[in-house]
Symmetry: C2
Subunit: 322 residues, 2 copies
DNA sequence: GCAGATGCACAACCAATGGTTGTGGCTCGC
DNA sequence: GCGAGCCACAACCATTGGTTGTGCATCTGC
């Protein structure tokens, strides 16, 4: 089925005349007539009743019309989404079930009129994200560069929001029945976070965490996927992992895993947003404002060093070192 | 743009290989390759990066994907909406801003997964609606046949819900400042309801209303459209009209018109639903149940005679005659 | 390192499509 | 009853969109 035929159908239905639709679409009246006829032949129904003063929708035509409108609108949005120098807001996230994507989805649900495309760069290198922002391939990226000095001049990184960390353990783990945990209680327990690329923002985060709280964080080993990780956790009496409290991985219920918040201090993973310094996409403003409306974290919150480097004075945060 | 090309794009993106998408769609791999290439040429962007093990979405491809899914789903819904012997529920209403359509819209908003098409037969004759239900062109019709004996055997009419009547007047009308009105107070005031076809259900309703309460209801004259009616009402000191309280005509605010409920008795316009006696559309059940959840009318409610004919004993209602 | 398998792209070919111009038939209004 | 307006049909032609056959690149297994 041709979307231009559907567009002709919609306009003809709205204008009541094939002639007017043809004028508007820049083709001859005969072309529109043929398009409609082809639609009718393909669908096996009559869409219009022809009168002397134009056309009028049949019942089938009325039933089709809203769906045809949907299709045409979808095509238009699709075109807008990939138009070079697009005005559709395009944001890069690390994954579709991360806290970043969840918060974006929450925003979109409360502002469903927002034209927003969520994409994922298939490379883990934050420099690729910076380059993509620079090139205009994406309007913003939920990534962190741990060395802000490495940022080019025309790109900046701002703090988006913090994601508190929780411990994820199986039922046989000695900490499984705790309501909350402090970082000190995690000492000597093995924490496994597989699939962390060296020098990635996650590697830096876990490195600092291990150093500051004397933890056993084991980032070695390839990531065989979440299914495998969950299976291992569920069966193990001594392996745990860390997850963000806002992450919405669909933990299979039959694994009987537990999420235990970590407090005193809360361990905050800071989410940053990389965006162009000049002329950022106008839709970004409202999304950044939305971050401020998220529940704030307690005063006793630990953050990695690169999140505590003051960018503006009023944004400076305490750096906790136990 | 071809919707089959978009469908190929969606499946190829989901399956990661043009070959698999081609198998599924029943065409050759080359055809899918060509479709994607055409899409890319038309859109001016690259949608996939080709790898040795298949294809992977580019950023532009990721941005397009959800919209392409929308389009494909819209096409599928459109096809379902007009399939002969369709399983998409199709209901006929008298107009899109009538109480019938408003109640249907309310139902749909609370059950957005319902596939529902709302159409309007362009003829005012209820017999045409009966015939359309009989022929299966529509699954149900919000119409009334005032003589139930005229219904064919394989079609039945049930009571849907009642729509209370309100008086609509301009600011200079003597009744303009009333909070509520009784039918007796309307006596000797001119009530103008233009565009009522003789022997239609509305004509019957106003006839009985005029007789039972001794009202001056003037149904003569053509209907020049709501705009004209509203203009006349707004300017006139002696013309009023009747509207249903659930009707949602967008009354222009600058007309300063007033809606005044009529009570003691409430004047109920009964909405009926005509549907096949055998094998009604399965989606109808939930909608009919929905009617029961609407706010009930007070005990002192007037209804036209044809709405008080007992259909089943428990559905019998009092017939008020002042 | 090499052979085979796998997966996408290009070429050649052909039926079908979708646009054009020209024309005819129908209904409405004067 | 005649002209205006609108849609459908016919003839024509460039383009499309499918096919089969083939080529090229990459990954896999020995």
């Amino acid at each position: 089925m041709d979307t231009e035929a559907l567009r002709s159908f919609v306009r003809a239905a709205e204008l009541g005349q094939l002639q007017h639709a043809a004028d508007e679409l820049g083709v001859t009246q005969q072309a529109v007539s043929k398009r409609i006829a082809t639609l009718e032949r393909d669908l096996g129904v009559r869409l219009f009743t022809r009168t002397a003063r134009g056309v009028e929708l049949t019942l089938d035509g009325q039933a089709l019309l809203p769906h045809a409108r949907d299709v045409v609108a979808g095509v238009d949005r699709g075109m807008a989404a990939i138009r070079p120098g697009s005005r559709t807001l395009r944001i890069d996230v690390l994954g579709l079930r991360t806290a970043q994507a969840v918060v974006l989805h929450d925003y979109w649900r409360s502002h469903p009129e927002t034209d927003l495309d969520v994409v994922t760069l298939r490379v883990n290198d934050p420099r690729a994200a910076v380059a993509a922002v620079q090139a205009g391939d994406i309007d913003a990226s939920f990534r962190s560069v741990t060395d802000p000095a490495a940022l080019p001049r025309d790109v900046r990184m701002i703090h988006a929001f913090d994601s508190p960390t929780e411990l994820l353990v199986g039922p046989r783990h000695p900490l499984a029945s705790a309501r909350t945990l402090t970082p000190a209680q995690l000492r000597r327990h093995r924490i496994w976070v597989p699939g962390i690329a060296p020098h990635s923002e996650w590697a830096d985060f876990y490195d600092q965490l291990a150093t500051d709280f004397d933890l056993r964080i084991d980032a070695a080993g390839p990531n065989f996927g979440n299914e495998v990780l969950l299976d291992i956790l569920a069966d193990s009496a001594d392996v745990a992992t860390l997850v963000g409290s806002r992450d919405r991985y669909i933990w299979p219920t039959n694994h009987d895993l537990r999420r235990i918040p970590i407090v005193s201090p809360t361990l905050a993973y800071p989410l940053s947003l990389i965006l162009p310094r000049a002329n950022p996409h106008p839709g970004l403003r409202a999304i950044i404002d939305h971050f401020a409306s998220l529940a704030p974290l307690p005063a006793t919150t630990w953050r990695p060093s690169w999140a505590t480097t003051p960018r503006r004075r009023e944004e400076a945060v305490e750096h906790h070192r136990p």
